[in-house]
Symmetry: D2
Subunit: 284 residues, 4 copies
């Protein structure tokens, strides 16, 4: 009975909630869930996410879009309307470690993440066998220092227009700013450290060296600055003095897959709104 | 800038959210936060909590009350309006263990729980010293089998009209149905077991006997059936084979105080809505 | 450099730790890790688990076995010696839900659980495809009310002598006492409720009906009384009023797989000692 | 029945466990608990903690000390013997925030932390009232930029020889290297950030600016480098985009007190062993 959802934000004086209701109600849409918050960054901005019932016809969606353009647009409100039948298309980029990929495949297949894995791209051939039974295309595009640009061009050919967002599921290459421009706020990375601690390579080694008692993982949108983009979700796991880096890597895999799984679910359900370098998560 | 909050619920077809906005907006109130959910019990009921800005005058609040009576009342919606300046008055009832009482006193004193402890009532004198520095009245009313009725009458004399809700902070007496009638959905108990497991007396002993790996605590509204009222919050703590009942009691105290602290905060901020034997918590 | 491990228990006056050292040291074995605890059940019993280095020859293991028989046996101590090269053989029994099976296959395949899945037995054909790529045999043995005995006979033919322990990974049939006799303290079940709460069928439905704020899962050894055997591990997940039973089932899968994964790891590494209806877990 | 405990560490080839048993057993001491681990820093060092029964006479303790000096000393083993009747004397240093102090006082008073608060030292007078009912001396020693050295001299006069360890319970002054030399591995600080993230002042402000989804606290031994000493314990708390720094401060207090409480318990029970910049925690 959920027909769709709206995510909107705008200045408080614009009346974001009233405007959204003024768009929905004359068309017979009923609000089933509504979560409205102020974003505490001093800018008096309100953000909301609404799930609504409605009519399933194309004409109806057109009229809804028109109303938003008229009313919300005029008041400086930003909005996104998503029919519940829309299923986002996801590309997963991986290197050699398969635990996160396997979990994502399962979460999508079991219906827990309402998105579709359209392709897997890897700079290695190792994980082709894991993907094969699903029938999802696996593109092996080697990345070497002197052919990085060529590799990214090939990746973009496959990705652009074909997927709605990209998940870096332990993909060990840094993407260029040019690549990122094609997918703003559409690339989710899982970092195996509790950012801002331990950015960059080898976070488990650094964590063992510092003697921390908790390790963690961070899912974030990728921006130009390495491991510094808006954080979507984080999780932790207790460790002890006995765990050397190899052990931390082993234990950390369970946190990585859970944190990324939640982040991808929330992105797929339009529960994440980015403002500046922060995210508002309209949690389940 | 938060002037007050509304908690409301009603049948979906009544348009709970629209109605609440229709009450607030003509009076110049702006919705700062809004959390609306459907209650999944098959009854098509919507529940919401709104924080709004507004005018501080008594006349304004009167007009707001009138609008709700007119609009919401007519549509079968139940509502509660609470000015942000209202601070609920709490009575704490205790027996001999003081850890939860002390934590509640501190939470209220530090402003974390927006409520005021108006009195402490105990069937023992033990904890009078803990309360004395705060200046809060401590009423020692012994409860014996043959004088239980008399004791409850004395308690009611002190409580009725003088407090808005009651917290049983490890109060080891069972209240009679007659007492409960005076405070429906207004008495919060902390049970030192993870209900529905281990109701009644000695939950830690029962937990040790069963060999569980997690112990917990449950904050719930008190109803006639022992430890069976609507659950507000629960929490857990890991334990092991080495922990005999005395150890569980020691470890459990930290869970008890945290779980009850959150429940009392939420109740004080009108974040808990009871429907049937369930609670909807509009979490912070 | 770990050659093997010993798990031993016995009366305090027997000197369990001294005896184990007296067996190991004359043979040149060095204790690398030692965890000794008293079991607090009033019986003055000590339990310990030791990892040691040593020689890899068969003759050496024979001599070690002889020493334990002589020294520990004479003092009323119970012991188990396991060379580090031993990898336990596991059978997984499933019905239709595959999330726990898939996770177990991955944990064993990735080396995280030091055990080998020797076969999968199911009363349905549904999950054959999930197992096929691994090359592990999948035995489909339908179980109907009138052929339950026949089915168990077939299962026992496959299992007895061929596997070291059995994991019920959401296997929805109750095993008969006769079947259990063949595998005492060797059958691990994952129950999707926080035992002793919600035993039996449909724990998520019962949890939703009671309005709990935490759901959980319990891994335990199977005994004759349903869901009442020694608990190995438990875990929880926060839920809210919005989660009807279907949602709880979806969320609970992540707890189920994690709790069972840890329990199977610990069993495989001889970290679990059963005394009466309790387990001592020598945690990692 | 626990007479005392030994914490010892030394090179593997020295046989730490055997040596400790060789000291205890001829004197009739029985090992009640034993936890031995290798410290994974490449140095082949073993560490252990033992709880034992024994005789309560002074002569017995002398003989035990002599045996350790003879046997363990000769083999390059470091050890510490602590009779169970020893209760460590603690000084608490605070500034203006009292939540951690209050919790420590309660934990000691209720017997949960087996240590005695001997004095409270503060650079402010604010918390004197909180300490007064307990009868514990409260020393107000103002610290100003030009009198820091004088203040530390006064503090040392009170502390040196009078307490066994010091807890900085949100003490907002940096101690000088000279001060630290008097209490090596004896000063525990609670930092309100998840180190190594957010060291220094204002961790909650930094956490809000980065948009993290988890905040935390870290208990560590104080060394010359600010917030870089050996970590004893860490804990976390979920937060969201709605929590500005003031909210994080409020929420973080519960994590701070719990993390520090556990760290102080473990230190008091000789469960923490420092090697280099790491701690081995022989957890309860």
């Amino acid at each position: 009975h959920v027909a769709g959802r709206v995510v909107a934000s705008g200045p408080r004086r614009a009346g974001v909630l009233s405007t959204v209701l003024a768009c929905l109600e004359p068309l017979g849409a009923t609000v089933l869930e509504c979560d409205q918050r102020c974003i505490d960054d001093g800018s008096e901005t309100d953000a909301l996410r609404v799930e609504f019932s409605g009519e399933p016809s194309d004409a109806w969606w057109d009229r809804l879009g028109d109303r938003f353009a008229d009313l919300a647009g005029a008041r400086g409100i930003t909005w996104r309307i998503v029919p519940a039948t829309d299923v986002k298309r996801m590309a997963v980029m991986v290197s050699r470690e398969g635990h996160v990929l396997q979990d994502l495949l399962w979460r999508c297949d079991s219906g827990d993440v309402p998105a579709k894995v359209s392709m897997v791209i890897s700079n290695h051939a190792d994980l082709a066998g894991m993907v094969r039974p699903s029938g999802i295309p696996y593109h092996h595009i080697p990345v070497t220092a002197d052919r990085k640009r060529y590799a990214e061009d090939r990746q973009l050919e496959l990705l652009y227009g074909a997927v709605d967002f990209i998940v870096l599921a332990r993909y060990m290459q840094v993407l260029t700013p040019k690549f990122l421009e094609y997918f703003p706020e559409k690339i989710i990375n899982i970092h195996h450290g509790l950012l801002p601690a331990f950015p960059g390579a080898n976070p488990y080694k650094a964590a063992a060296a510092r003697g921390v008692k908790l390790i963690g993982a961070t899912a974030h949108y990728v921006t130009e600055e390495l491991d510094a983009g808006p954080i979507i979700e984080q999780g932790v796991c207790r460790v002890s003095h006995r765990h050397e880096p190899g052990e931390l890597r082993r234990l950390g895999r369970y946190v990585e897959r859970d944190v990324l799984g939640r982040a991808v679910s929330w992105h797929s359900e339009d529960r994440v709104l980015v403002t500046g370098n922060h995210t508002t998560v309209f949690a389940d």
